[in-house]
């Protein structure tokens, strides 16, 4: 209630300014994207979809060696791996990923030594039953065929984080 002396000139100016601001926006293009009809482009590094277990391109063998590193690092404990050993390497006997509590931090992908677990591009991954969110090994293997794999891979990230990494590598150089 202090200085409630509003001169009519400032009031008029403010009115015109406010109306002008909204008027300008009236003729700007709406930014709304009508989702199912039009889609915004997904950036290359997008994460947030579901997961997949990869297989070797040449031999068709699954990459996962059941080392349980992803199980260990998951902050919300959604991964459970059982390991078995035969034919000279480790295998994942079972691999269960519970998407209900996943926080999409991608740490599991980052630690994977064999690029076995990856996230996939896929916006339309909701399901109608809770059980469908618990991904077992079969579903994870099937996801590899269903969706394209995302940008991040364990080895790629690990190489990116190598402290002795040379500067002339193919990575974005900014400011020069």
């Amino acid at each position: 209630m202090r200085n409630n002396r509003i001169s009519s000139v400032t009031l008029l100016k403010a009115t015109i300014l406010s109306l002008w601001l909204t008027m300008k926006n009236l003729f700007r293009r709406p930014v709304t994207v009508q989702y199912p009809a039009t889609r915004r482009p997904i950036p290359e590094r997008w994460r947030g979809g579901t997961f997949a277990l990869t297989t070797d391109k040449e031999t068709g063998e699954e990459n996962c060696i059941g080392c349980k590193l992803c199980e260990r690092i998951c902050p919300s404990n959604v991964i459970t791996v059982e390991m078995e050993k035969h034919s000279g390497r480790g295998w994942a006997k079972s691999f269960i990923l519970d998407l209900q509590a996943c926080i999409q931090c991608e740490l599991c992908v980052q630690v994977c030594p064999t690029d076995a677990i990856v996230m996939v591009y896929g916006m339309e991954t909701p399901v109608t039953r809770r059980e469908d969110l618990i991904l077992n090994k079969e579903k994870l293997m099937a996801n590899e065929k269903l969706y394209p794999a995302a940008w991040a891979r364990g080895l790629k990230l690990q190489q990116l984080h190598e402290p002795e990494r040379g500067t002339e590598e193919k990575r974005g150089v900014v400011g020069k």
């Binding site: 209630m1 409630n4 406010s18 109306l19 601001l21 909204t22 008027m23 926006n25 009236l26 700007r28 293009r29 709406p30 930014v31 709304t32 009508q34």
Partner: protein, 321 residues
């Protein structure tokens, strides 16, 4: 006019006002959407959401209708009906063209303002009977606001009446053939300003939407209402807004008078223009506080309205003697 004729005309009027109001809500949503870089209604009746008002009506009809157990059930259910009926009654006296009006009486202006001021009863009762603290505060605010703003509203409505020397809408429209009152030096502009401001306050629109102040009182007096009863309040608000726009076009903008041709189409165009102006103001301003609002009324609008009425009276008495 026989009873039957009047009845049919009344039904037609009611139906057309309802239809117009339904599409005014659609228009507001579309307009405000574009103002805010959104699209607004889109899917129902693609691509412009033409069927949105109908879908909304059906949705509200199908919704569960709740009455608070500890509230006053009878009053709670009566209040929305009251608001809607009173809002519609105002239309009976408004002329849509130069020669068609449902109830043709000499005191149209007086009746209109009398009915307009009865809305506050419904809103207050709604807030009171909800037995909700937010609704109660809102009801008290509404009562203070609507009763206070009634004064400048009537003062500004009286200016055209004084200038013409009649309370009959037809006379006022007739008199504006020589010049619209909005172009009447000083008096006309001041009274249209005062009228629009107080009418916005009466209709609970931003910048005066204190009774429904969403960020403070959640939804104000209508916080306990759901379904069709809520829709009645919504309807009442828009009917009131339409009435205000229509009244502005009749009292100040010359009504059916206009270049090229005359008649109801000009009333419609002017009403729409005023309505767009009100919407634009609504989506461009912020809410006043209750004390500032009262200050604006008692220290600014009421004295200005009185002064304006005095000048209009002086002019009229000098000219008509």
């Amino acid at each position: 006019m026989s009873f039957l004729e009047g009845f049919v005309q009344g039904i037609v009027l009611l139906g057309s006002v309802l239809g117009v109001v339904a599409y005014l809500t659609w228009f507001e949503r579309k307009f405000s959407g574009r103002l805010q870089s959104r699209i607004g209604p889109y899917w129902v009746g693609r691509p412009h959401g033409w069927l949105q008002p109908i879908a909304d009506g059906l949705k509200l009809l199908a919704k569960e209708d709740l009455t608070p157990l500890k509230g006053d059930g009878l009053l709670f259910n009566l209040a929305p009906v009251w608001v809607v009926v009173i809002s519609f009654l105002g239309f009976a006296f408004l002329p849509f063209t130069s020669n068609w009006v449902l109830v043709n009486i000499d005191l149209g202006l007086l009746y209109f303002s009398a009915f307009g001021s009865l809305i506050v009863v419904g809103v207050f009762v709604a807030g009171w009977s909800s037995n909700n603290k937010y609704a109660l505060i809102s009801a008290l605010r509404t009562a203070a606001q609507m009763v206070a703003y009634e004064i400048p509203l009537v003062l500004s409505l009286l200016v055209p009446a004084v200038l013409v020397g009649s309370l009959d809408f037809k006379d006022i429209v007739e008199a504006q053939r020589e010049g619209w009152f909005v172009f009447f030096p000083f008096v006309g502009q001041v009274s249209i300003l005062v009228f629009l401001l107080s009418a916005l306050a009466e209709g609970n629109r931003i910048p005066f939407d204190l009774p429904e102040a969403e960020s403070e009182l959640v939804a104000g007096f209508s916080v306990e209402y759901s379904g069709m009863k809520f829709a009645y309040f919504y309807l009442g608000e828009y009917v009131h807004l339409l009435a205000v726009s229509l009244l502005t076009s009749i009292l100040f903008l010359g009504g059916p008078d206009g270049p090229l041709f005359q008649g109801g189409i000009w009333v419609a165009i002017k009403t729409l223009a005023v309505f767009v102006g009100i919407l634009w103001i609504r989506w461009s301003f912020l809410r006043l506080r209750i004390d500032q609002m009262m200050l604006l009324n008692w220290k600014f609008l009421t004295p200005l309205g009185l002064l304006n009425l005095l000048i209009a009276g002086l002019w009229a008495s000098l000219n008509y003697t």
